[in-house]
């Protein structure tokens, strides 16, 4: 009976030790120089991609403004310095619409989705950093 208990304890210890070695090995294996890269983003739906595109474009436009004291007259002017590539709407493949206007003497812009009905909404745009989808 005592021998059985000892055997069981030894077995548990062995399992713990193996698990620990396996865990450390995984950490060591995943710490290789080839793994020097940022985590991959999770896959996103078309609508989520549009939201992310609009936010990236808006932030790049604001960065352009910080450097140039004005917004660009064309969306393409933000690449490559502020955004590596100006993305297109994932569902229609058409470029996003960029409108520049002035209110109270200050420049403003709106970036909208060319065919919002593809996302079952009437409006889908970003303005002043605020995302509107309804």
């Amino acid at each position: 009976m005592r021998k059985h208990k000892l055997l069981l304890l030894l077995l548990i210890l062995t399992v713990i030790l193996v698990a620990l070695i396996a865990y450390v090995s995984v950490l060591y294996w995943r710490g290789d120089v080839s793994n020097y890269e940022p985590p991959q983003p999770p896959s996103a739906s078309s609508s989520e991609r549009v939201q992310s595109d609009l936010q990236d474009l808006s932030q790049a436009l604001e960065a352009y403004f910080i450097k140039n004291m004005e917004y660009p007259h064309k969306l393409e002017l933000i690449q490559p310095e502020f955004l590596d590539r100006v993305a297109a709407d994932p569902l229609s493949g058409k470029p996003y619409l960029y409108t520049l206007y002035e209110t109270e003497g200050a420049s403003r812009y709106r970036i909208s989705v060319p065919d919002p009905n593809l996302y079952n909404v009437r409006e889908f745009y970003i303005e002043g950093g605020k995302l509107v989808q309804n």
Partner: protein, 253 residues
């Protein structure tokens, strides 16, 4: 009897010059009353922010005497009193500038405005220069420290002596030290709340070991807030947004 005397031929042109001069003076001072010259503003702003260059862009409207519609101020290569930055741009909508303070004591003050925006860009090179400066100040000699912006992450590759890390922080990663140095990689995201910058490491590799999330969480708690951005008066701002772009870290209110 009194006789009306006409000005002599010498005095007549003089009077014209004086009257023209006074009209011009009042016109200019009236114009100044609404839109002070950029040079005056720049002189006053230089007292607040130490930087390489200041640029101002105003929109004064079409009519004379009209109030400023908007004013954009750009500070280039800001080094002291703030976050080391390549560009800081401040935008006021419908600003009223305290002209008395500007004229009398060369002080920049905006008494009212309908909108205020501040944006900051920090490049990888500026960040690297700041790291070098701090390392030099602390007498830390490192073999490698690379910064790369991979939106939405900042990637770091480093090879630094273990002594370069504060003892209380070193305790956390003591078991990963090899040859008295830390060599590895980190991918982190940034957050900013009320002018405080927080780093959020998502992946850290130290001396060939991928750090477990529990250790990363402890490091995160210890290192934050990473930086407190000073508030430069009279710009009353709270930076709340941050983004990593191809070439810059972007901050705004």
């Amino acid at each position: 009897m009194f006789k009306i005397k006409f000005p002599t031929p010498v005095l007549f042109p003089l009077m014209i010059v004086i009257s023209f001069g006074s009209v011009l003076f009042f016109a200019v001072s009236d114009l100044y009353a609404q839109t002070p010259p950029d040079s005056e503003l720049i002189k006053a702003l230089k007292k607040i922010v130490q930087c390489e260059r200041i640029e101002i862009k105003t929109n004064a409207g079409e009519k004379r005497n009209e109030k400023l519609k908007s004013m954009v101020i750009k500070f280039v290569s800001v080094s002291k009193n703030f976050l080391p930055a390549d560009y800081i741009t401040v935008q006021y909508t419908n600003p009223t500038i305290d002209l008395k303070a500007l004229k009398n004591s060369n002080t920049f003050n905006v008494t009212s405005y309908s909108g205020f925006k501040i944006g900051v860009l920090v490049s990888d090179q500026t960040l690297k220069n700041e790291f070098d400066k701090t390392a030099k100040k602390m007498n830390i000699h490192y073999n490698k420290f690379l910064i790369k912006f991979s939106p939405p992450y900042i990637e770091l590759e480093f090879d630094i002596p273990a002594s370069g890390i504060a003892p209380e922080d070193r305790k956390l990663v003591e078991k990963f030290v090899k040859n008295k140095k830390f060599e590895g990689y980190a991918a982190l995201r940034l957050e900013v709340h009320d002018n405080k910058i927080f780093a959020s490491p998502t992946k850290v590799i130290l001396n060939h070991f991928l750090l477990p999330m529990t250790v990363i969480d402890q490091i995160k708690r210890r290192m934050n807030p990473l930086y407190q951005i000073p508030r430069i008066q009279p710009f009353n701002y709270a930076l709340e947004k941050v983004g990593i772009q191809q070439k810059y870290i972007f901050f705004s209110n």
